[in-house]
């Protein structure tokens, strides 16, 4: 049990946490769309913070409100038919309701974005170089010549071969991977402090995705940009994010560091996501464990906990509260989940029933790996849960073999 809540011995990257004010702060964000069928509550009371130089991953299935959240932060929603409320502050400045002119000035300079579909984001009528140089000129007042030089420099930095020549190409002359690189060059040309990347690699091949993710990480190390990274892929989350926010039906159901979410998740929906994906190192002769049902309609979301129609654990909460009472996101520091199950119960369920089936390599769960502070970290551990952890390596022979093969 103790290992469930104990940080692993490998040190966290020395990113500052809890120092000073967050760079981006979102409070009780609500976004509603008026549609023919009724009101769509796309984002329903979302709060999060992002500190300088860190990457926050927003994960969730399609329609959970990830893109709508980001468009609200960027001030890009069409005001007709859309109601946005809450607070969004960037470096202390309020963005929601800020004059359009000011937002325009911030976008592209202090904050910028990369979208999934680079073909629609880049204009087909202008050369790639011009599309990178223009915002640079606009925001820095640089000369035309200097801005072009900057475009060449940026294209080179993101790995476009022969940037001197390719700067005059049109987007359709680039391959998908090159266009996504050009988008990154465009997003970073003014040294933004906040980068919002909405599924930036979802449309790419896996080898190209790996290049682009590493490129973003390396550039961030150099520039200290804060990144909001939207994805539905937990593998990508593990690769690039420091912190994670799990969204379901327009709400945050769980948040914490990437280790918290991937190693000791507390929310049944997070468990479902982790259990349903196949892994390269997991045993193959056991069926995957899907989440039953499908995501809810946001026109008429379920009452109480939005996940309750699909949740296998609602019976463990007394009085059918899951179907009637909306669980609040309870935070301890930056860690928390929105679920009526109490903390010990959640940890026990994860240790007994969820983690053993994930087919992880056993050493992560072995008592030795808990590190020196392991035994003291959580005294609330239940004795039977302790045994489960100790038994786990034996319960995972396939994972053992996987190790032996290497």
């Amino acid at each position: 049990m103790t290992t469930v809540t104990t940080p692993q011995p490998r040190p966290e990257p020395p990113a500052p946490r809890g120092t000073g004010d967050p760079f981006l702060s979102v409070r009780d964000l609500r976004v509603r769309f008026a549609t023919e069928d009724g009101e769509v509550r796309a984002v329903d009371g979302l709060s999060f913070d992002l500190e300088r130089g860190r990457t926050l991953g927003i994960v969730g299935e399609s329609g959970s409100g990830k893109s709508v959240t980001n468009l609200a932060v960027l001030g890009l929603h069409d005001p007709r038919g859309t109601t946005v409320s809450g607070r969004v502050t960037l470096d202390g400045q309020e963005l929601l309701g800020a004059p359009r002119k000011r937002l325009e000035k911030l976008r592209g300079a202090k904050m910028s974005m990369i979208f999934q579909d680079s073909l629609t984001a880049l204009s087909p009528y202008y050369t790639v170089g011009r599309q990178i140089a223009e915002p640079y000129r606009k925001h820095t007042g640089a000369s035309r010549h200097r801005a072009r030089q900057r475009a060449v420099e940026m294209l080179g930095r993101v790995g476009i071969p022969q940037p001197q020549r390719r700067v005059d190409d049109f987007p359709h002359q680039f391959s998908g991977g090159m266009r996504q690189r050009a988008m990154i060059a465009l997003a970073l040309v003014c040294d933004p402090q906040l980068l919002i990347a909405d599924e930036p690699t979802t449309a790419l091949d896996v080898t190209v995705q790996a290049q682009i993710l590493d490129l973003l990480k390396d550039l961030q190390r150099q520039t200290g940009t804060s990144i909001v990274f939207v994805t539905h892929d937990l593998g990508v989350v593990a690769d690039v994010c420091d912190d994670v926010l799990v969204m379901y039906a327009g709400r945050c159901v769980e948040t914490g560091t990437v280790r918290d979410i991937l190693k000791t998740p507390e929310h049944p929906y997070s468990w479902g996501l982790l259990s349903s994906i196949p892994r390269l190192k997991a045993p193959v002769d056991v069926p995957l464990r899907p989440i039953p049902g499908s995501p809810p309609s946001l026109l008429d979301p379920p009452p109480g906990c939005p996940f309750h129609p699909r949740c296998a654990f609602r019976d463990e909460v007394a009085g059918d509260r899951c179907a009637t009472e909306r669980p609040q996101l309870l935070l301890t520091g930056a860690r928390g989940s929105a679920c009526h199950l109490d903390g010990d119960r959640k940890r026990a369920i994860f240790a007994d029933r969820i983690r053993p089936a994930l087919g992880r390599r056993p050493e992560a769960a072995s008592p030795a790996a808990a590190g020196p502070e392991g035994p003291d970290a959580d005294r609330t551990a239940e004795p039977e849960a302790d045994r489960t952890v100790a038994d786990e390596p034996a319960a995972e022979p396939e994972a053992d073999q996987g190790e032996g093969n290497r």
Partner: protein
Amino acid sequence: MSGIAMTKAAPAGEPLLEAAGLAKHFPVLDGFLFKRRVGAVQAVDGVDFTVHAGESLGLVGESGCGKSTTGRLVTRLLEPTAGRLTYRGQDITHATRKQLAPVRTEIQMIFQDPYASLNPRRTVGEIVSGPLEIQGLLTPGARERRTRELLEIVGLNPEHYNRFPHEFSGGQRQRVGVARALSLEPKLIVADEPVSALDVSIQAQVVNLLQRLQREMGIAFLFIAHDLAVVRHFSQRVAVMYLGRIIEIGDRDAIYEHPRHPYTHALLSAVPEADPDDDGRERIRLAGDVPSPLNPPSGCRFRTRCWKAQDKCATDEPPLVRLDGDAEGHLTACHFPQEPTVADRGHDVVLDPALAALEGTEPPREPA
């Protein structure tokens, strides 16, 4: 399974479908009024593989490498440009519609897009019973009973018989597509990216369903997907394609634990795993994208992105053969193969010039 009697199941392990030198070239036309043939996209350019009864052969590779084209050749939705296709010993390469009729019922296809592949104006019942009706099998009453049974097998409510596709979610629509494919009791299902359009939580539902069909009904699969983890989960054997060729093929353990082709290594290394402790894997970062299949590189097609390429790679096409020390059935097309392990051996291969510059490493060699 649900009382469905499976007829004449071919014995497991016997070759069901064999492709030899199979190729599809799409002509590229140019000119205004009078189209001239100016070249050909070599979408599939000579692939050999066998699907045995009851097994799943996975087909992986990056966009445009020819996976879907291979699937459409196998189901004879496309006419092969060259090569030979044999189904249960019968040459079906250029079989006519009439000759194909009995085979057509035994090979079915499931498509990626559960939205586009179902007729929106027909009820689910009509869609699923369509193949039975076309083949003139069973009386209308028996057809309906059978259809309800099929809906139940794929985990849909038989009561949904009269509903329309738009009333279903993506995962449910994919189940409808599966039920339709099952209606003629196929022996082989070609599944082209059957889960990639679905949400992660729903993908697992459909993968489990297909796996149950494979196991309980003994249906063989040609399982096409770009997601290496899904393919590993579903397929006993796996073929890796690159630019219209199979560059490595073998059983699951050979491809995922002991790959030899540099491209297979690069692919596996690029898969992000949802585990922050997932270290110990080698790190390979290629440069650029896949070249155009209009004008593939000479010799080994991977050589423009390969860090081990030598002169020979540009002149001699490497044959797909069993290498020294490899398991039986594990074939690789490479002159200078990798060690058979995916473990990190202490040095990254970073070919991407931008990454190499940022990380202060030099690319191992100048890109050709």
